[in-house]
């Protein structure tokens, strides 16, 4: 797919305008998260805008072409612009766009969701070895339990609850990796009433019914790898934008708030907190750009996870530092910093927490060192 630069910039500009006119008003009261119907309405408008290609020809939408570098770069640019206004909206768009991409490839017509979290946050090296298609004999039992037991091991879904199909990776010793489309009617869904962050979305645990039909459709290992990569890239991008929002908020407060006779930003203690946040954002942005320059799928996934192991804790800390600049008032839900921080803390654990991703990277590292 060849995307004209002028078209890309126009699209990003349009989404930026949309964010300020349509999303920002919904986020005015951080203590009162917009309800799911309001978010669904925004998503519908983004479909109309072409950000989310639900039906029709993919072009300038999020995750329209997972194998094209320019398209992926545009995707994270769009996600970033949305996340500047709402982490939750950006996450929902990314998830729905990924599902729509998979559905197009599989020839399905559904409103989809994705889940790229394993049943348990463990056995990272086994997962990575399986992605390299080199699981050990001992790995197979673990992988089967971790990625192939959806009847007993619920997956986590974070998003709107209007999905009809959920896509998730499955590993079995017979079929190896598959990206499976599971119908809502084949699932037992439990809503988790008190989600930690991304307040506008629902937390659901989703389990395959014991008597369920087989998957509606499935895609091969290359789509699993692309899915892991793009989902992680989205989480990283949203985290960067969320940290940006948190640090900007704290910087403004550091100018406005006077203590000890001067603006608090003049104190080294505050300046250091802000600078640490800026450094985390700049580093993550630089690493994200490098991911976009990496073509080979496994190398790209490896680098994406490497970046997340370092960037997610640093970005979460940026959010925490931003809250610290506010002091006591930052702890109150109607001010904003605590919501940014909870969002960052949630994003840090979605799609594999840093410790889990570190072990996956370890297996990639081992493989790479053997092939050198």
């Amino acid at each position: 797919m060849i995307l004209e630069k002028v078209d890309r910039e126009a699209m990003v500009g349009a989404v930026r305008d949309f964010g300020s006119t349509q999303i920002a008003p919904l986020m005015q009261r951080p203590e009162l998260p917009a309800d799911e119907s309001a978010i669904a309405q925004v998503i519908g408008q983004l479909v109309d805008l072409g950000v989310l290609t639900q039906d029709g020809e993919p072009e300038l939408g999020v995750w329209d072409d997972l194998n094209d570098q320019e398209s992926c770069k545009l995707s994270t640019d769009l996600i970033s612009v949305l996340a500047a206004r709402s982490s939750a909206v950006a996450y929902q768009v990314s998830s729905q766009a990924l599902a729509a991409n998979f559905a197009r490839v599989a020839g399905l017509s559904t409103t989809g969701a994705v889940s790229f979290d394993p049943a348990v946050n463990a056995a990272g090296r086994a997962t990575a070895r399986a992605l390299l298609d080199r699981p050990t004999a001992a790995d197979t039992k673990v992988l089967q339990d971790l990625w192939g037991s959806e009847e007993t091991r619920p997956r986590l879904h974070l998003g709107l609850r209007d999905w009809t199909t959920i896509w998730w990776p499955r590993w079995t010793s017979e079929d190896r990796w598959q990206l499976c489309a599971i119908g809502r009617e084949d699932c037992e869904i439990e809503w988790q009433p008190h989600g930690h962050g991304l307040d506008e979305l629902a937390f659901e645990t989703v389990r395959l019914r014991a008597d369920s039909a087989d998957a509606k459709g499935s895609l091969g290992a290359e789509h699993v790898i692309a899915g892991f990569t793009c989902h992680s890239l989205a989480v990283l991008t949203i985290s960067i934008a969320t940290a940006r929002r948190a640090v900007d908020r704290a910087r403004q407060y550091s100018i406005d708030r006077v203590q000890g006779g001067s603006a608090i930003g003049e104190h080294d203690a505050v300046a250091e907190l802000l600078a640490r946040g800026e450094s985390a954002i700049a580093t993550a942005q630089a690493m994200l750009a490098r991911v976009h320059d990496t073509v080979e799928p496994i190398a790209r996934l490896h680098l994406t996870w490497q970046v997340r192991t370092q960037a997610q804790p640093a970005l979460a800390r940026a959010g925490s530092d931003a809250l610290q600049v506010f002091g006591g008032i930052g702890y109150m839900r109607d001010v904003g910093p605590e919501k940014d921080l909870r969002d960052l803390n949630t994003l840090r654990r979605i799609g594999g927490s840093p410790s889990e991703l570190m072990l996956r990277c370890a297996a990639f590292d081992e493989s790479r060192s053997r092939t050198k």
């Binding site: 946050n121 463990a122 962050g197 104190h267 925490s320 809250l323 610290q324």
Partner: protein
Amino acid sequence: MIQDPRTGIAGILTPSHKLSARSVTTGLPELTKVAFGGTAAIGDPWEVETAQLPKALAKLRRSARKFAVEELAPLALELDATEHWPLGQHPEAIDELLQKAGRAGWLSDLLPKPFGGSMLANARHPLPLASSIKIEEFSRVCGGQMLLLSANSLGQVPLLLSADLGLIKRRLVTGMRSSLAGDPYLFAYAITEPQSGSDVEDGYGAARAKPGLVAKRVGGGWLLNGSKVFTSGGDLAQGFTVFASLEGEGFESWTCFFVDRQTKGFRTVGTELKMGMRASGAAELEFIDAFVPDNDVVGKLRQGWALNRQTLNLSRVPVAAMAVGFAQAACDILVDYTKRTTLAGRPLLDQQSAQLVVAEAFAQTSAIRAQLWRTAASWRVHQSYAAMNKFHASDTAMGVIELAMDLLGHDSLLHQNRLEKLWRDCRLTQIFEGTNQINRLAVIEDLQAHLS
């Protein structure tokens, strides 16, 4: 699924193995074992530590844990998830809890019987240590309910420090006895002002800030005008230790006043919707010509700043205790989760990566508790030690909780697993009683004679 102890933990020698740590207790001479080797293959570290405490404090620790587990734990998740309640519409469970805590002496334990609720034997031990032991146990189960109960102690401290026996008897002991009789009389400590957050925690800031609550001299007493914010427990308290500047003067004139809730011109405006510790209200207080008689001045005029600083020295140590409790809770959740959750038929604790996390969490928690107990084991807590304890323990505890959250991954975000609540609750310990940045500067202030 709980791990069968006979099969041990994967990758770790079983206790019965000839080369295991148990060999220390079986293969050495008796004298050597008595002197050095008696601690191999220990059981529950909490029991071991408790047994090492003086008898009275060990008893206190056990009773605090029992009360926390029996009374606080069942309410913890529910109160955290309950929608923000308007003033006067708190859940009945809170009233019941306060009555039970009152009768059990947890609202009056700054003084020994017969004046207050603590055992006379506890009086032989430093108050900061006894408070820390109690607060760790309460925090371990629920930060919000812990704050609900311990903010009361904070409000009592200035009365105690005033050494005014008449006032102590009339206000403090009377309130404590009411609580002991099952009619809770809570105290709250009101220092933070809308335009002076950290200023009131730090002399350098206070020297340059403008007071927001002012006391004006009138016949027989003082009229208070202004407001206070973020007053923990200020929604339910009956008695308040309130700090105000004298008219026309700065923070150096700060004076502590005892204000009863029934005082005309005083009211609680509302409470904040907080990130965590949600069972305890953070209230805004309003004073419009609220009259305080001379005999309710706590300490002397212009002695408020000293009382405040001394109170902070005593209250920062309990904040460290809160952090230790939160870190311990994270350890407990980690152990439970890694034993209960299985992968391919084996508990997660069989994975070396999980073992490393559990060991790290134990080490960090043990270290901050050791620092806490050392600092608290003195009646005279220095500002620098209190502040070091507070910021180090709270930062470390957040690290321990985040370590645990990383191991649980997305499961850590589910409310029923308690970690995300713990994380939200603990985050406040880095902020209140002075932000951790202010506390670092408090260390330098206290040590400046040595440093300069």
